[in-house]
């Protein structure tokens, strides 16, 4: 996987908790293997019944049509396991989601697609939210994986270089910076895996009955 060290760009705000993956990418965009998921991002609220853009929705407005960072409230990505929610964000151009908490499956899916899922404390969320709300022209930020900070990168802004921390497990940070492929990493333990399977098959033969794995196939 390609390496990621930082994300630069405008931060868009969707100030809601429990944003579910059905909202991030509705099932109607999942009917083929080749749908333009970036187009489908938040499709349920981004388009009206005729497929026209809803002008009031944040990602339909400039400069947020090119947002690189998304700020949201607690429990982002709950619900369905669909990894297409992460693909939709990435294909739209979002490189980082900042939220006080993430749902478990979404969080795992994010790292496997180089989407930075940064956990911020509630005070940081409130401060960033206020900033984004009061700068309707859009504010550019830099998310830096080396320092685990998000900072105002707009040189013309009086808050230039003001920064906040976010959390991400160190191992995940390093893996993302190196661009590790997780399957390659796991296959370093290939021998352990086959030994484990052999051992399990002999200790718990009932778990791998002949009808499933035996010569009967």
């Amino acid at each position: 996987m390609s390496a990621v060290e930082r994300v630069d760009g405008v931060m868009a705000l969707i100030p809601r908790c429990d944003i579910n993956t059905d909202a991030i990418i509705p099932s109607s965009w999942l009917r083929t293997a080749s749908a333009d998921l970036g187009q489908g991002l938040f499709g349920g609220e981004r388009y009206d019944a005729l497929g026209q853009e809803v002008p009031g929705f944040i990602l339909n407005q400039q400069p947020y049509r090119h947002a690189k960072v998304l700020l949201a409230d607690e429990n982002f990505g709950c619900g369905s396991s669909r990894e297409a929610a992460v693909w939709a964000l990435v294909q739209f151009g979002i490189g980082c989601v900042l939220a006080p908490s993430f749902a478990d499956i979404f969080y795992e899916n994010a790292f496997r697609n180089n989407l930075v899922a940064g956990i911020i404390d509630v005070e940081t969320y409130q401060e960033l939210k206020t900033l984004v709300e009061t700068h309707s022209e859009g504010m550019a930020f830099r998310v830096d994986l080396h320092t685990l900070t998000v900072s105002v990168s707009d040189a013309n802004n009086s808050l230039h270089n003001r920064s906040w921390s976010f959390q991400m497990p160190a191992s995940r940070v390093q893996a993302m910076i190196r661009g590790d492929d997780e399957i390659t990493t796991t296959l370093h333990h290939q021998e352990d895996i086959s030994d484990f399977y052999k051992m399990a098959s002999s200790e718990k033969p009932w778990l791998f009955p002949e009808d499933l794995v035996g010569l009967k196939r």
Partner: protein
């Protein structure tokens, strides 16, 4: 045995996890062996594509099975061509499975059905085993004491290539149900009530063991229903210690161990319980005596009340973000704060999904429907969870009861729960469903969903509105 040699008390979760631990990884995660892997057609195409692109193959194809369920048509007698939109994903999985040597349960197979219905039915999910599937409701098999974990597509690829998952070990939570569950209430009411109590994020980061006398008294299919909605608590894993009932359920199933192996397995399964004194990171107590028939009013599964209850008033909520969310939910659902749920007219009634589409669910609904008719202007559907369930129901004549009452009697699939096939609730219409999610647009653009038990949904279909609890009684009791 002297106390110094006594093993520390372990949770059931620890026991099963440790039995699958290949090694601790340097990054703090655990590499665990996946005994069974189940594929569904909407989350595996990309996994196979990437597997091929990286020149890898499926490591142990015997341990993976595939079933078409999400995008399949549920029209009786359907084929892979009945829903042309879904053909691409169905054919992709079929050809990927065939070229990799993976068993495939397509719409033409007599055992086809929803992953979480057929995994127990076929004896693929076994107590003490670990099963992964690219679907968040995989915890359903926890009803048998199996650790079922829902994964994303990259993890599907990881399992195909390595038969393992690299996971951060979740913390443990036990939810203990005590008191007496009122007659006529179901596992669905238990889990909806639980989600209402601890919220959609209350189980995040935890593996949940459901326990207590009320759980022990549940039938196997009811346990599957309960564990199914663990993800609606935010938990990836939810399970119940297996008992004799589970062992009996598993006997003779296609991939269950047979003969001596079954006896050996039973000896192992009987030890699968949390030790007395085992410490959980979190414990929750639920008094079941206080629970009545549940129905969701809003747009997350924690928005539940008794069918005799009212829509909450956001003005009484202090926290601004939550107040805002409730307000938005009330608007989306076209309701008023303080409005009674009972009497609210519905347009569609759906009985099905991995939560509530098993024989016991259909029997319960049929008992309430027998000899009566669906209200005019209501579209009512029953979609059995598997073709096996469908055949068993037909052998009992349930199809006749449903058809005579005006229900559609369909072939197996996820249908109007995920609405990724052609079974969609029209914009603005109100559907009461035995499903697991009531998110905005879940059942189709601008659809409105109320989730409830098969009993509540069946009676709603007959009356054309959400019933109150007095209306939810079988014919025999009503005429008394």
């Amino acid at each position: 045995m002297s106390e110094t040699h006594a093993k520390p008390a372990q949770t059931l979760f620890d026991k099963i996890w440790n039995a699958h631990l290949i090694r601790h990884l340097d990054d703090g995660r655990d590499l665990v062996f996946v005994d069974r892997h189940v594929l569904q057609e909407t989350t595996c195409a990309q996994a196979f594509r990437k597997l091929r692109a990286s020149g890898r193959t499926v490591l142990y194809p015997d341990l993976t099975i595939a079933t078409q369920d999400h995008i399949v048509s549920t029209k009786p007698g359907r084929t892979e061509d009945s829903n042309p939109t879904g053909r691409e994903l169905m054919q992709l999985m079929r050809s990927n499975a065939m070229s990799s040597g993976i068993r495939h349960y397509g719409v033409d197979h007599p055992s086809q059905g929803i992953v979480h219905v057929i995994a127990p039915e076929l004896g693929l999910a076994l107590p003490g085993s670990l099963l992964a599937c690219g679907d968040s409701h995989t915890s359903t098999v926890g009803g048998l004491g199996c650790l079922g974990i829902g994964v994303g597509t990259s993890e599907v690829e990881h399992v195909l290539a390595t038969q393992t998952l690299a996971l951060s070990k979740p913390k443990s939570m036990r939810i203990v149900y005590h008191g007496t569950l009122q007659a006529g209430l179901t596992a669905k009411d238990l889990i909806l009530h639980t989600i209402g109590q601890i919220g959609v994020a209350g189980g995040r980061g935890y593996a949940v063991e459901y326990a207590g006398p009320v759980i022990e008294a549940l039938g196997v299919e009811a346990r599957l229903t309960l564990c199914n909605m663990s993800i609606e608590l935010g938990a990836r894993l939810g399970f119940i210690a297996p008992d004799e009932q589970v062992l009996t359920y598993l006997q003779g199933r296609e991939f269950s161990p047979k003969g001596n192996a079954f006896t050996q397995a039973c000896a192992y399964w009987r030890q699968l319980r949390s030790d007395t004194g085992a410490v959980f990171d979190k414990e929750v107590q639920i008094d079941c005596s206080l629970i009545s028939h549940q129905v969701s009013w809003g747009t997350t599964p924690e928005d539940v009340v008794s069918v005799d209850g009212i829509v909450p008033d956001p003005a009484t909520v202090e926290e601004p973000a939550r107040r805002e969310r409730l307000t938005q939910a009330i608007t989306y659902m076209d309701l008023q704060a303080g409005q009674k749920l009972a009497g609210l007219p519905i347009n569609v009634a759906f009985i099905g999904s991995c939560t509530n589409s098993r024989l016991s669910d259909l029997k319960l609904a049929a008992e309430l429907v027998r000899g009566r008719h669906v209200a005019s202007d209501v579209r009512a559907l029953v979609v059995p969870g598997s073709m096996s369930v469908k055949r068993e129901a037909e052998a009992l004549g349930l199809d006749v009861i449903f058809r005579d009452a005006g229900f559609e009697w369909r072939d197996a699939g996820c249908s109007m729960c995920v609405s990724i096939n052609e079974d969609v609730v029209p914009p603005g219409a109100r559907c009461i469903a035995t499903t697991n999610r009531n998110f905005e647009n879940r059942q189709g653009p601008k659809s409105r969903t109320h989730i409830a038990s098969p009993a509540v949904v069946a009676v709603a279909a007959l009356n054309g509105c959400i019933p109150d609890s007095a209306m939810i009684q079988p014919e025999a009791e009503r005429s008394r």
